[in-house]
């Protein structure tokens, strides 16, 4: 794990309280996403998380679907590639088993806002373009190994460019339901005009992540969605 020092995360949408960003306390973050090999050790030790045994409420029918069997990741899920098709519940259970936790949305975004040379890529349109290019590229059936990409300023690999990642409070993005379903501040995101309230309207990757997270449910298992762990100091 790498130490991410205390800092400030600037959310795409600031709350009406007009705060100048979210204070993020220093924490540890996995250098690499959790791999199929890592996850195999977890399901061996915790049979209730094996594909044929998992309870439907904790993972939908796509859980570990690219694996060959309960204890065989198989050729489409190499040991050194990120594990995907895992639900939020499964990711959370893995993190707890390791004595860790999932990063919060603020922690993840803060760590991921670093490019290779700076903690804050806000002034780096080229970095954002690269991230956006990746978002536009469909995931391959067989994902690349972890750790091939360049490390960012904190020494972390693959926050962008390999898979999307679960965060602990993914369900804090309020973008669901009809007008009456949510009582919230973030309804500005619902339509294009609302984007005028965004802190940085050029930050398309942040819009994409917000939209993606708000489309998720905790039991969803998605082929390009994995996770990594975090830990308190």
């Amino acid at each position: 794990m790498a130490l991410i020092p205390t800092g400030v995360y600037h959310p795409l949408f600031r709350s009406e309280s007009g705060s100048n960003g979210v204070h993020v306390k220093s924490f540890y973050l996995d250098i690499l996403p959790v791999t199929n090999g890592d996850f195999l050790a977890f399901v061996r030790a915790n049979p209730r998380w094996q594909r044929s045994r998992v309870k439907r409420i904790f993972a939908d029918e796509f859980y570990l679907k690219s694996w060959a069997g309960d204890l065989e990741p198989g050729s489409n899920a190499p040991a050194n590639a990120p594990v995907t098709d895992v639900s939020w519940f499964a990711a959370k259970a893995y993190a707890q088993w390791k004595g860790n936790r999932l990063p919060t949305l603020a922690e993840w975004e803060y760590a991921a806002s670093a490019n290779s040379t700076r903690a804050d890529s806000e002034q780096d349109p080229e970095f954002k373009r690269q991230v956006l290019n990746w978002y536009c590229t469909p995931a391959t059936a067989r994902l690349s190994p972890v750790g091939l990409g360049q490390t960012n300023f904190w020494g972390i690999h693959d926050l962008h460019g390999l898979v999307w990642e679960w965060v602990a409070d993914f369900n804090s993005a309020l973008l669901t339901g009809g007008a009456q379903g949510d009582t919230g501040l973030d309804r500005r995101l619902f339509c294009g005009g609302g984007a005028q309230g965004a802190a940085d309207v050029q930050d398309y990757p942040a819009f994409m992540r917000y939209a993606f997270r708000s489309s998720l449910k905790a039991d969803y298992c998605v082929h390009n969605l994995g996770f990594r762990c975090a830990k308190d100091l």
């Binding site: 709350s15 009406e16 309280s17 705060s19 209730r48 309870k55 439907r56 409420i57 904790f58 939020w88 519940f89 959370k92 707890q96 936790r101 602990a168 409070d169 369900n171 804090s172 993005a173 309020l174 669901t176 339901g177 009809g178 009456q180 379903g181 949510d182 009582t183 919230g184 501040l185 973030d186 708000s214 449910k217 905790a218 308190d232």
Partner: protein, 207 residues
């Protein structure tokens, strides 16, 4: 019939008196009392009662959600300081209760689970119960560890977010669970027509 396996009752006093934020680690608290031992296998694949989280009621009881099994339950998430939506959610639940014949409503539980682990202590919830006139016989008010609040919200499909002012933005959802803890219906939004919810509850009690 086979006897149920006996379980040790762990009396680890992890819970700080009068508070719901009891520990910083996400490791689940052990039950200290009153929790009937149920193996996860006792519930169906889609039962939310498979979760191990422990909740504190406004009467300072520590319960697993599985303690609610055996009768249909009406569940909503809320916070006591909410000035707009939550009072309407609670009122909607009271409308549902009032619309049911007495012999049906007697067999249904009504539950409010707080988002606000900091302020909604058992005593704050007890005050809320008093102020809103929620009878102890049928209503349960609960608070829990923030991780468990997140998990329950995930299970119920409820989205929420704390803003800088101690308010929570949240989905307005009233969930109906059957006796096994499966979600059978969700009434979404405020001040909705309760007809369908009432009909379903009557049907669940009959079955």
């Amino acid at each position: 019939m086979k006897p149920k396996p006996k379980t040790l009752f762990l009396s680890v006093a992890i819970l700080t008196l009068g508070s719901c934020v009891t520990q910083s680690s996400p490791v689940a608290a052990q039950s200290s009392c009153c929790v009937k031992a149920e193996t996860p296998a006792a519930f169906t694949d889609k039962s939310i009662y498979q979760t191990e989280s422990i909740w504190t009621t406004d009467q300072e009881k520590h319960i697993k959600l599985s303690a609610l099994a055996g009768r249909p339950q009406v569940v909503a998430m809320f916070f006591a300081h909410c000035q707009f939506a939550c009072p309407i959610i609670v009122n909607d639940m009271k409308r549902i209760e009032a619309a049911l014949p007495a012999d049906v409503s007697d067999r249904i539980g009504f539950n409010l689970v707080s988002f606000d682990a900091k302020r909604d202590t058992p005593s704050a919830l007890a005050e809320y119960r008093e102020a809103r006139d929620l009878p102890a016989k049928s209503w349960t008010l609960m608070c829990g560890h923030p991780d468990d609040v997140l998990e329950l919200a995930a299970l119920l499909g409820v989205r929420f977010k704390e803003d800088g002012n101690g308010q929570f933005a949240h989905s307005n959802v009233i969930t109906i669970l059957n006796a096994q803890g499966e979600i059978v219906h969700q009434q979404i939004g405020l001040n909705q027509d309760i007809h369908e919810t009432v009909r379903l509850l009557q049907q669940l009690v009959k079955n």
